[in-house]
């Protein structure tokens, strides 16, 4: 069953307001322009399918993070997946291009690229936690997205932050 018109309006509003989530999750879980674009498409598609189930019980951002992270964590790369993807339309291709080459300033871009590289080197669960933390979510919100307890989020994040710092240590030393 396709989502009714009000779902379409919701979807559009979510894309307008939260598009950054798709970009950040895709860049953290996929490598290269093509894969980032494919993952973004898949996340948007899953969000589209999930719309009829959205009943305002969760904040839209929590819902979107859940859909995006679940999709990214279970996303399988490979020819079979690529074959079943949506045919690239002009707008969708533009989304991927936007995501892969944002116009960050040169210095920021270097640091940001290193940060994304470090994120990709982390285990997927820690990657998800750090991404949510970097996006400024409170422990309670992270717990709601992941299904972990708040205490556990705290413990896991301490470990994940240490790992991120270790991964970035060489880079930041170099930069400093």
């Amino acid at each position: 069953m396709s989502p009714p018109a009000n779902h379409e309006a919701t979807f559009q509003a979510w894309l307008e307001e939260h598009r950054g989530i798709f970009v950040k999750v895709a860049r953290s879980f996929a490598r290269g322009e093509t894969e980032v674009g494919e993952l973004q498409q898949e996340m948007m598609f899953q969000l589209w399918l999930s719309l009829p189930r959205f009943a305002n019980q969760a904040k839209p951002s929590t819902w979107i993070y859940r859909v995006c992270l679940n999709t990214a964590l279970t996303w399988r790369r490979g020819a079979q997946r690529r074959e079943s993807r949506i045919e690239p339309e002009a707008d969708l291709s533009r989304l991927a291009a936007d995501a892969a080459t944002p116009a960050e300033t040169a210095g920021n871009k270097d640091l940001l690229e290193q940060l994304y590289s470090a994120l990709q080197a982390m285990p997927p669960s820690e990657r998800a936690l750090v991404l949510l933390m970097l996006d400024g979510l409170a422990y309670r919100d992270i717990a709601e997205v992941t299904g972990m307890t708040e205490n556990h989020v705290g413990v896991a994040l301490t470990r994940a932050r240490k790992r991120l710092a270790a991964l970035l240590k060489g880079v930041t030393d170099e930069l400093e």
Partner: protein
Amino acid sequence: MNWNDYEAIWKRQELPVGAGADLATLRGAFEKKRRKLAATLFMRDILEAVAGVFASGVFAYSWWHVGKEAWPMVFAIALILGISGFFVRERFRAHRLRLGPDVPLVAKVEADIAELRHQRHLLLNIWSWYLAPCGGAIAIGGATVVRVLIIKAQPELFSALLQNPAALAWIFAYVGIVLPLSFWGAWVLNRRAVRKQIEPRLEELEKLHQSLLT
């Protein structure tokens, strides 16, 4: 650099603004993909059940054609329909238990793990719910045909067979080689699917689950 610096870098990244795509284009693409996905799932759901119904039809036709002496065919039909019913029940179960990506990560990973374990159990025990009933149905069908031939006393058919070694060889080859090989092939392919596809994915998800909970 410390965490605050990372946060600052993260928040300074320039992200695309706005929807970035025309909703009508997205809607068209998504609806096309959704319909394709729904059709694929529907076909997968009914294909195995329809194959069973078709095979039952063949047995039923043989029964009707041969007459009341072929009554044991009812057991073969029951076995084949039982397999179809099992497929249908499995599909309903999978649809009922499948969680969308909008649930918390831990719940989704746990549901996926449970489903993969169930699939592994089914594939490793395929002999009990698929191969044995299939073999049973084929054996009953074959035995019924022989029984009917004996009851209807068609000695000319037996003597013709005995005088035709090529026909006998084909029958023995089918019963002694082709059927066992098909069953063995199905068993091996399913074990291979477990080893190559389900086990690695299960291991991946269990690792993810472990890391989310410890």
